[in-house]
């Protein structure tokens, strides 16, 4: 045992600081007991009780600081004392935490009078409550969360409609409001085209194509995937169309969705009829006649929707690079494939991108299976096993249950890709890579080793493995579109310039000896 006693004459520390210092001093390595205190009778009493009294301590007065350090070994005493000294001189360098923090929407809305919007992405079990609080506070809402009941969705949207607020979602992944991309969105030019969309990646694709064709976006309003169901009745889409109609900056409106339920479609078409601005309608696999009859502009593909919109918006057609399909390339690839390499395997992160490629395939091919097929006969029996032509949406609940979206965490798609690449009946694997806010920082890079490995394996086995990659993004996005595309091309992947072209390329390559576009 070794003790060091130091009395600092005429040195004052307040009692609370001393308590805190003593507590810290007792945690110093090697210290058996440390007492730091002013030389009051009470403190001297404590020292006496623990048997550490010395003549110097006895002499200390209430104006003197006493430091007593006891260590097990003599060689530790000096270093322990120095550590105590350091505590005494150590000025607080903690970072100022002056930022005001809020725990609830109520308090945040109260504390930030300029707040006008809430983005909510908490677990669905809690999301409704938060969304309601936001609406009660006159905040527009983007509800990213899924697993919200239809009843709750109707209640929230009705409440928002009555208050004249946006209620985007549940399950709304994409919006651009006042040129700010929210959740999954791309950096696009400001312009005069407004989008209302029930499908996230579909609207991302249209906005990116508009940008590529030289156009720009005013607002991109997401509605959530269920908005055009019978139960919800298109509340958000109808309000969105009205708002864009009233918006001075918007000249053209684009609607993106899967085909609405019949009664809702009627309402939407009636709204289009009433609308003072041209409306381009891209209902994937939808009915052209009804749209045209309502005075809308029908688009069969996302690319067509964007092209029609920019032309209506006043962009000169002569200056647009329409990114025509590379027909010689199709012939070239066809020649490389053996007769048994017949099938397309589409592995998608974006639901609408999957849908679009699938619908394009279904126009000319039979036996197109998917985990998101409407026709139950063509739903995959086992989502982990492909059948003939198979299109998989990895963003569907089947795959995301308890896991992050594949746009953030691509691991399950990588595994599946390697599995498909080994299948000798596969002619083409088509994949999307989504850039932009919210997405993975290097979606192509993360897939690259698997693609190279698969290509090498196929080469060893004497077959050609055709991979088509589409990168959804703009030249303003991070990571850079150009770099991502280059990585694909360098790895021997065929680059498609749009979601539409990706679907067409895949289909045409496997359509051997038949007519092609």
């Amino acid at each position: 045992m070794s003790i060091k006693v130091v009395i600092k004459r005429n040195t004052y520390f307040d009692s609370v600081s001393l308590m805190s210092l003593s507590t810290k001093a007792n945690q110093i390595e090697g210290v058996e007991q440390a007492i730091i205190g002013m030389g009051t009778e009470m403190n001297k009493g404590v020292i006496r009780n623990v048997g550490l009294m010395t003549p110097e301590v006895e002499e200390a007065t209430a104006g003197d600081l006493m430091i007593i350090v006891k260590t097990a070994n003599a060689d530790q005493t000096e270093s322990a004392y120095l550590a105590v000294e350091e505590l005494l001189t150590n000025k607080n360098t903690a970072q100022a935490k002056s930022d005001i923090k809020y725990a609830t929407i109520d308090s945040a809305a109260q504390g930030i009078p300029d707040a006008n919007f809430a983005v909510i992405s908490v677990n669905g079990a809690f999301a409704v409550r938060e969304a309601r609080k936001a609406l009660e506070n006159d905040l527009h809402v983007m509800l990213f969360s899924d697993n919200v009941s239809v009843e709750d969705e109707v209640e929230l949207k009705t409440f928002a409609h009555e208050k004249g607020l946006l209620m985007m979602g549940p399950d709304c992944g994409t919006a651009i409001i006042g040129n700010t991309g929210l959740c999954f969105a791309n950096a696009v030019r400001k312009g005069n085209i407004g989008i209302v969309a029930a499908s996230g990646t579909g609207s991302q694709e249209v906005s990116v194509r508009v940008h590529d064709f030289g156009g720009g976006i005013t607002q991109l309003i997401g509605t959530g995937g269920r908005d055009l169901s019978k139960e919800v009745g298109g509340i958000m889409m109808l309000d969105g169309i009205k708002a864009l109609d009233a918006d001075e900056a918007t000249k053209v409106i684009v609607l993106v969705s899967k085909p609405p339920e019949a009664s809702v479609e009627k309402k939407v078409l009636a709204q289009i009829k009433e609308c003072s601005k041209p409306v381009v309608v891209y209902f994937i696999g939808g009915n052209e006649e009804a749209v045209v009859a309502a005075g809308g502009q029908f688009a069969k593909t996302s690319k067509e929707a964007a092209l029609k919109a920019v032309l209506l918006a006043g962009i000169d057609e002569a200056g647009i690079n329409k990114r025509a399909l590379n027909l010689p390339l199709i012939e070239e690839v066809r020649a490389k494939l053996s007769p048994e390499q017949k099938y397309i395997r589409g592995l998608f992160c974006g639901g609408t991108l999957c849908d679009e490629s699938m619908y394009i395939a279904m126009e000319k091919l039979d036996n197109v299976y998917s985990n998101i097929q409407k026709n139950p006969d063509f739903l995959l029996k086992d989502i982990n096993v492909s059948q003939e032509h198979t299109f998989i949406d990895f963003g569907d609940d089947d795959f995301t249950n308890g896991k992050p979206h594949p746009m953030i965490d691509p691991s399950s798609r990588i595994e599946r890709f390697l599995q498909e690449a080994k299948d000798p009946s596969v002619g083409v694997i088509v994949m999307d890579f989504v850039l932009g806010f919210g997405s993975h920082e290097d979606p192509v890079g993360v897939m690259l080793p698997a693609m190279i490995e698969a290509k090498q394996l196929a080469e060893k086995e004497g077959r050609h493995l055709e991979i088509i990659g589409y990168v959804l993004g703009t030249d303003l996005d991070t990571p850079r579109l150009e770099d991502q595309v280059k990585k694909l091309i360098d790895a021997g992947v065929t680059h498609a310039s749009s979601s539409t072209n990706a679907g067409l390329l895949a289909r045409e390559i496997v359509l051997k000896g038949e007519n092609h576009e």
Binding site: L21, K97, T104, N116, F117, F126, T218
Partner: protein, 475 residues
């Protein structure tokens, strides 16, 4: 223009709830976003969320809002004034010679912890109900003694809170609403009854307080016809660096300054007056109980308003932490286990020496001072982790769980923000933020006394029980 079209022409200013990455992306686009420190309401427990949703229904929610507004209005408008001192038997409602009041929610003799039992035994000897401590233990267990919470007698008690018939108490009257509150006198800092000590030195001091200090204070205040406006003095003390729970340096100076002229005018011998001043000077804690009675007086005025979810009492008996809410009139206690107090300790003591949270002093936090007003007391920030920023953070954070700010009592450092007032159990449960309490750490064994100070929180369980009860009763 519709609200949606207004949004189109303005910049988004987003409140982000959930995935933080979304906030970062918004900020990267030069728009404004604030990320909420969100946690699932009720800790994500389905039965708690169901209860929250039940009382959130518009009609009931409106009733609750209105009731809470009224409750905090009464708390804020209360003007507690010290009008005198007297022996408990003469003034405290329901006091009898064989009644012992204690801190916290109800508890039986057998279940009391060491310090509280120690204090009870000391009080029985002091009152002459037992000749020594041994007999006192028997008397206490005999069933002859009525044990009752201070809070059920318009009173509060520091630490063990043990208050017996002949002890002198503060008499605080609410000039706005007429109700009165009581609390005994500080024994200052040494071996004291409130910490469970009960040897001769403790009893001797209690006798002196009964025979000298008490009568002098009583007679002094008889000469002060206006009384002492405690709310005004409390507000001053906060501006002088107290939070009036663990730091009372300014408050005690102000208080004795107000009492001194009247003490001087009394007819007691100079040496007795001198002894009173020496006693007051021996510890800054002297006014600690005074502020407790002040807070109690205001909070009692806000108690018993139907449908109010405002907390009017937080108190601990060393075993359980009890909460009362305004909407449950009378003495409905919602309890959970008393917690450990975490903080720096006097030299020579370790965390395992500390007893569990005890005392009625959390009435100060219930009112909005103490831990809630840490930002006024930078000198003692060591208690709450060590930095002034942390102290400020606590004072701000408490606004998340309260109903209003009390503009009568302000925090200069926060641009004279009023203290956070009217803890709402709904907000506590929704945010998962528990009230912060600044308090002393008593040794777990009777008689040793205070060994440190720090912070603690009520158990969430007490708030959950209250929520479940009202959701069943009111919805």
């Amino acid at each position: 223009m519709s609200k949606i079209n207004e949004l189109f022409t303005s910049k988004v200013n987003v409140i982000n709830v959930g995935i933080e990455l979304f906030k970062d992306d918004i900020l990267a686009q030069n728009a404004t976003a604030t990320h909420l420190e969100w946690s699932p309401p009720g800790g994500g427990k389905p039965e708690i969320i169901a209860a929250l949703n039940k009382i959130d229904k518009a009609e009931l929610a409106e009733k609750i809002e209105a009731a809470n507004r009224l409750a905090v209005e009464k708390i804020v408008n209360s003007q507690p004034v010290l009008i005198g001192f007297d022996q408990a038997i003469n003034v405290v409602p329901g006091m009898t010679k064989k009644t012992i009041l204690h801190a916290g929610p109800p508890i039986t003799w057998e279940n009391m912890n060491g310090p509280m039992q120690g204090a009870v035994m000391g009080a029985l000897v002091f009152e002459g109900l037992a000749k020594d401590l041994e007999e006192a233990a028997k008397v206490a267990a005999s069933g002859e003694i009525t044990f009752s919470p201070c809070h059920e007698h318009n009173a509060v008690g520091s630490m063990a809170g043990v208050t017996s018939a002949s002890m002198f108490v503060h008499i605080v009257e609410n000039k706005t609403y007429g109700n009165r509150a009581f609390t005994n006198l500080s024994e200052q800092m040494a071996k004291v009854l409130r910490m469970g000590a009960n040897d001769d030195s403790v009893i001797d001091r209690l006798v002196w307080m009964r025979d000298v200090l008490g009568p002098i204070l009583r007679d002094a205040m008889k000469l002060n016809k206006d009384g002492i406006d405690l709310r005004l003095m409390l507000a001053q003390a906060l501006h002088m660096g107290d939070e009036c729970h663990n730091r009372n340096n300014a408050g005690t100076s102000l208080f004795i300054q107000a009492l001194t002229p009247y003490i001087l005018e009394t007819d007691y011998p100079v040496e007795q007056k001198r002894a009173v001043f020496d006693f007051v000077a021996s510890s800054e804690y002297f006014s600690g109980p005074t502020w407790m009675a002040c807070c109690k007086c205001a909070l009692d005025a806000g108690h018993g308003i139907e449908h109010s979810t405002v907390v009017t009492t937080m108190a601990r008996n060393g075993v359980e932490f009890g909460v009362r809410i305004s909407g449950m009139a009378g003495n409905t206690w919602f309890t959970g286990p008393a917690q450990q107090v975490i903080g720096p300790m006097f030299a020579g003591y370790k965390p395992e020496d500390s007893g569990l949270d005890i005392g009625d002093s959390a009435i100060t936090e219930t009112y909005g001072i103490g831990g809630f007003a840490m930002a006024t007391a930078p000198a003692i920030v060591a208690l709450v982790g060590g930095t002034v920023d942390e102290a400020i953070g606590y004072s701000r954070q408490m606004k998340e769980i309260t109903t209003t700010e009390n503009q009568n009592i302000t925090i200069p450092l926060l641009n004279f923000m009023g203290i956070a007032t009217g803890i709402d159990i709904r907000k506590v449960i929704q945010t998962g933020i528990l009230p912060i309490i600044n308090t002393a750490i008593a040794h777990k064994e009777a008689g040793i006394g205070m060994i440190g100070a720090g912070i603690t929180h009520p158990p969430m369980e007490a708030f959950e029980k209250a929520l479940i009860t009202i959701s069943e009763k009111w919805a």
